[in-house]
């Protein structure tokens, strides 16, 4: 099953690679252009993923039973939630600044991990982790982190 899904995914990647490379000059053998490597790689990914998908189809016909444990939807939703939180963090960090947005993100991430998310533990841990990171990176290592346009940064 993984061969088939992997084959289909990379077939799309190969197709996209070739589609996006269509405007790039290929050049000649003497002087290959910027499109030569992407085109060769795109063709190779497409052909190889077709082979992989075909192998997956063959094994799918040979084996009828499921080849892995049942999907853990709770685990998947946890991953999706964390990814969505990071996406939101990316969107607001320039506006809210490092300290506020990170404290909020850390609080929610800690809430996702504990059994009693509504108690004081997650906000305290979120604030402590943010403060520790601030001291370590900004104060000690002199790393510049966004202050936030909301606060005039």
């Amino acid at each position: 099953m993984r061969d088939l899904v992997g084959g289909i995914v990379f077939l799309a990647v190969g197709g996209l690679t070739l589609y996006l490379a269509r405007g790039l000059p290929l050049g000649q053998v003497r002087l290959p252009g910027p499109g030569a490597l992407p085109t060769i790689a795109g063709v190779a990914i497409t052909l190889l993923s077709l082979l992989l998908a075909w192998r997956g189809m063959k094994s799918l016909r040979a084996v009828t039973r499921s080849d892995g444990p049942a999907p853990d939807w709770q685990g998947y939703s946890r991953i999706a939630a964390v990814a969505a939180l990071i996406a939101v963090y990316t969107a607001v960090i320039s506006w809210l600044g490092f300290f506020v947005s990170t404290a909020l993100l850390m609080t929610v991430l800690f809430m996702l991990g504990v059994e009693r998310p509504m108690r004081w533990g997650p906000p305290a841990a979120g604030l402590a982790a943010t403060a520790a990171a601030y001291v370590l990176f900004v104060t000690l290592l002199d790393v510049r982190l966004p202050v936030g346009s909301l606060w005039g940064g």
Binding site: L24, Q28, R30, L37, I79, A83, T90, V143
Partner: protein
């Protein structure tokens, strides 16, 4: 050896010692967690080195690497969960020793074996690098192109999983390396009009995403399923008997590991398995292996440490990484304004010899940190992952932002985190992708320069003796799977990488 002494003088400055100590400490702290190996640990902790001067940063990374490797071995012995493939062999006899109440001896011999192998490895790098650099200085684009081709062929022949999957990963890595302005014509490729992509994707961000965040996502799936039993750890110093049994395996493992570490795609993992196989083969009573034989821990642990040292040679002398760890290190060096390769020893002698000396100092730190603090690591193993993943994510977010002081890179990190998770779920090994990503730019540039020099003639490659010899070697390696006698060996090597 004068350079090596200078390297030691650099590393032994109090500031550098302090950061090496911190690196070893946090490296062990993260590496000891089940499921997190050296590659993921380095990728996650790289942000800690941002803001330091190059020599100190590299010394700290060396500390993180050795700390993570040793942390993984501790987990393998106590919990029977290898952090990365290189600790798989340690599980076999190390865990049995722990079950027999000899966890202390197993952890102790790991530390001492690694220290001895690391010492020999650092000396060997000092001896081998200079002559190699003298040859490498004569390399031009054809020789570099041929070398990279050889690297890819070896990687494929020893590849984990199917060749088709590895090839897909290599070509996907090449496509990712093409993102940004074309180095010859300046034409933008796959930038989607986004100025942040004009200089390409940072190796630091991509490795943190694929190895670090991808690993965190994968572990989030099974957040509540960890249950670590308490294993008593006492008597860490090996007895006279233990030393007698381990001296030979450590010596053989050090030499074998160093040689295997030079191979692209081999490194520490293959080194540990080769050592285990050798020790079992020459043992008076091979049936002891798998039942708690200390030789089965001492040899492979020494070997994987020497293998790690060996894998630094192609990076430092040719600028070519052979495994994901050295690929990330290459990215880090470039980030600090240092370009590894034959000229590095002249342009940045402090960094070159600092890296070599830091491997040794990193091993000393391990002896000082890991043995006295082993009780702390054991307790840390019992901390549930649900309390640890948020700070790990925070490290990576700050790291991604700090590379270019850009929020866009945090988005790139998230994208590659999802890619890393997807690859893991679909059973694609990301190592060839990262290597192809790192080597893709130089491979393309050297090929195009070669074809420009030769006016499009491939025969030009054969007119250059070094390039021709390297290409012949690539051809021979590619033909290995067709030879009957080599088939069995390759099958074993691939089975090792499969783990």
């Amino acid at each position: 050896m004068g350079g090596l002494l200078d390297g030691f003088l650099t590393v032994l400055q109090p500031n550098n010692i302090l950061f090496c100590f911190i690196g070893s400490l946090v490296g062990t702290l993260i590496g000891v967690l089940p499921g997190l190996g050296p590659t993921a640990t380095i990728a996650m902790l790289l942000p800690l080195t941002i803001g330091l001067d190059p020599v100190t940063a590299i010394i700290m990374i060396a500390g993180i690497y050795y700390g993570a490797s040793y942390g993984g071995s501790t987990t393998a012995i106590l919990v029977n969960i290898p952090g990365e493939a290189q600790s798989v062999v340690t599980c076999i006899d190390g865990y049995k020793m722990a079950q027999q109440g000899r966890a202390g001896a197993a952890i102790g011999i790991c530390a001492f074996g690694s220290f001895i192998a690391g010492t020999l490895g650092a000396i060997a790098i000092g001896l081998v690098s200079q002559p190699l650099i003298e040859i490498a200085i004569r390399f031009g684009p054809p020789e570099y192109f041929a070398l990279m081709l050889l690297g890819f062929v070896v990687l494929l022949v020893l590849a984990k999983g199917s060749v088709i999957r590895s090839l897909i990963m290599i070509f996907a890595g090449l496509v990712l390396s093409a993102v940004g302005q074309d180095v010859v014509t300046g034409e933008p490729r796959y930038t989607f009009g986004i100025s942040n992509l004009a200089d390409g994707i940072s190796i630091v961000t991509i490795s943190m995403g694929i190895f670090g965040l991808g690993e965190v996502f994968y572990n989030l799936e099974r957040l509540s399923q960890q249950n670590v039993q308490h294993v008593p750890v006492r008597n860490l110093l090996p007895t006279r008997e233990d030393w007698r049994a381990s001296a030979g395996p450590i010596a053989r493992g050090s030499v074998l590991g160093f040689l295997v570490g030079l191979l692209p795609g081999g490194g520490a993992t293959l080194a540990s398995f080769v050592s285990y196989a050798l020790e079992k083969r020459i043992a008076a009573d091979p049936s002891r292996f798998g039942r708690g034989a200390i030789e089965g821990v001492a040899g492979p642990e020494a070997s994987n440490n020497a293998g790690a040292a060996g894998s630094f040679i192609p990076l430092l002398t040719l600028g070519l990484p052979g495994n994901p760890v050295t690929a990330i290190l290459l990215g880090a060096l470039i980030l600090y304004g240092v370009t590894p390769g034959p000229l590095m020893i002249q342009s940045n002698p402090q960094v070159f010899w600092g890296v070599v000396a830091s491997m040794y100092i990193g091993n000393v730190m391990l002896l000082l940190i890991n043995l006295p603090f082993v009780g702390v690591w054991v307790q840390l193993l019992r901390v549930p992952y649900r309390y640890l993943y948020a700070p790990l994510i925070l490290f990576m977010l700050i790291g991604a932002y700090s590379v270019n002081t850009s929020v866009f890179d945090v988005g790139v990190l998230l994208f590659f985190g999802a890619v890393g998770y997807g690859l893991r779920k679909l059973d694609f090994e990301p190592a060839p992708l990262i290597l192809a990503f790192v080597l893709g730019g130089p491979l393309e540039l050297n090929l195009r320069q070669t074809l420009m020099l030769s006016r499009g003639s491939w025969e030009f490659l054969l007119d250059r003796p070094i390039a021709a010899a390297v290409l012949l070697a690539a051809l021979l390696v590619a033909a290995l799977p067709l030879l009957g006698s080599a088939k069995g060996m390759l099958r074993t090597a691939r089975a090792v990488n499969e783990l």
